[in-house]
Amino acid sequence: MRRPTLSEWSDRNFRWLLVAPAVCLILALSIFPLLFSLWVSFVNYDFQIPGHAFVGLKNFEQVVADPVARWSLVVTAILSGSSVLLEFVLGLALALALALTATFRGRGVIMSLIIVPLFISPVVVGQCWALMLQRPFGPTNYILSQLLGFDVTISWLTQAPWNFIALIVADVWQWTPFMFVILLAGLSAVPPHVYEAAELDGVGAWQTFWYITVPHIAPMMLLALTFRLLDAVKLFDIIFVLTGGGPGTNTYSASYYLYTIGFTQFHLSNATAGSWIFLVLTVIVVIFLVRRLLKPAVA
């Protein structure tokens, strides 16, 4: 029997050769680091101390016992939850406002303007809002004073709860267009004859919304909420620029907390232990939401 030539072999294994480079890259830069960090989280990994003594669950215990760590999970939940909810409501409102008024002059320009924040680095968005909110430089307090008729003197970046509001405003500014774009695609896919039939039957605007629009775009709503929520819990950049986690540790998100113990205090083993806890929490969310949601949307 003749041995297969290289080209025959590569043709037979074509599909595996195509996936091999990408899979190897992900294994090398994602799976291997994760396993490595699992090992780090069970030893004492310190640049100053030679050798890596096995310490069991000590690193995990230290993170769980740290009140700042627990507070950072609360901060992550508050900030990501309220931002995503607001973005959803505002994005839906924008999509409804622009979907049904299908044609008017300048619509294209408005659409292009609305999506602009999606293409800006979160660091720049943070910087932009720092310029708006910082006392005494930013014009926000001045604008509010003019609108409300009394003197507003809020330290947006250093005073609770205003620092939370500042972070939410910046996040909403950047990511509402994300909801808008996906929900608008959902709205455009509702067949127009459904609305025409409803109008003929004299169905009111609210009923049309609840009984026709919502059920039609429900899968898109879930998809937009899931994707956005999974990104929102990673929250780091805007905090880094706007509040620096402050005042004190008041606005530490989970990512920001792990960053500080890993890269400013160099408690590397604690940081990897903490990031594994955070990873497991995220994976639970992913398994629950993504698997369930994407199957119908993809199929």
Partner: protein
């Protein structure tokens, strides 16, 4: 001549819509306008009350300071090198894998969902060990190190966008090429890839924007040598008091290219944001 259109009186719902869109545009544009104005405003105008919405003597001094004194230009060049290289690698490997997934269902749903799940990994969980591994490999603060990291971190987007693209592309032409005696490689390179160029370009632009705007990996994996444009902003955080103009100028330099690219591919935006799960 134009036919005169009858104007119906505006309904309350229409008024509400216009008002809401108008409010949103103000909320959107005021911060951007303020940042732009700050970038050309002389420092002496910073603290004026009421705020100065247009300076009498605009200046470009902040731009030169941000680009040269604060090494913004070096960051810009690094960002260009790193984002371009990572984009090319990601689009290349992503297209290969996507083709296999779309045409041969390689690895079934498990493989494609495994790739997708990478998109939702918290970066902090990966970047800490990568930092430690790069330390051993001497890849910290090198262009190559960040290029590899960005290639991997944009792969899920490239794979899934191209996966969706190949699936809605009919496979009959490639089959015809096979019947005519082409090998699988030839039918891929000569038939499928040229047909998929619009999809590849769109996926590549999204990957580029993701690399261009990325901060977290760059913050941790680079310092004095391979730092990218977003990390230059660290210089303005400590003593913002004096550096409003420089920070704004650098922000403008950073956002103009990615917004321009984004507007160019906006018709692919829905696919880009949902990784191909929704067709725009």
């Amino acid at each position: 001549m134009a036919v005169a259109r009858r104007r119906r009186p505006l309904r309350p719902a229409t008024v509400a819509r216009i008002a809401f869109v108008g409010f949103w545009l103000l909320f959107l544009l005021i911060p951007l306008y303020w940042m732009f104005i700050t970038s050309i405003k002389p420092s002496s105008d910073y603290l004026a009350v009421p705020p100065i919405w247009f300076p009498d003597e605009p200046t470009l001094l902040h731009y030169t300071a941000a680009l040269y004194a604060y090494r913004g230009l070096d960051g810009l060049i690094n960002s260009l090198i790193i984002a371009t290289s990572a984009t090319i690698l990601s689009a290349f490997f992503g297209t290969l894998m996507a083709y296999s997934l779309a045409r041969f269902n390689t690895g079934g749903q498990h493989l494609s969902f495994w790739v997708l799940s990478q998109r939702f990994l918290p970066p902090i969980a990966v970047v800490l060990p990568i930092f430690l591994i790069y330390r051993v490999l001497r890849l910290n603060d090198t262009h190559a190190g960040l290029i590899i990291a960005y290639t991997v971190f944009t792969l899920p987007v490239s794979v899934w966008m191209m996966f969706a693209y190949f699936r809605q592309m009919p496979g009959s032409l490639e089959e015809a090429a096979l019947v005519d005696g082409c090998t699988r490689w030839q039918s891929f390179w000569r038939v499928a890839v040229p047909l998929a160029v619009p999809g590849i370009v769109a996926a590549a632009v999204f990957a580029f924007i993701a690399c261009w705007t990325e901060f977290f990996f760059a913050l941790i994996l680079t310092s004095r040598n391979a730092f990218t444009l977003p990390t230059v902003f660290r210089a303005f955080l400590g003593f913002q008091g004096a550096l409003y103009g420089e920070a704004s100028a650098l922000a403008i330099v950073s956002l103009v290219p990615s917004i321009a690219l984004g507007i160019l591919v906006q018709k692919h935006l829905v696919r880009g944001l949902t990784l191909g799960a929704v067709r725009g």
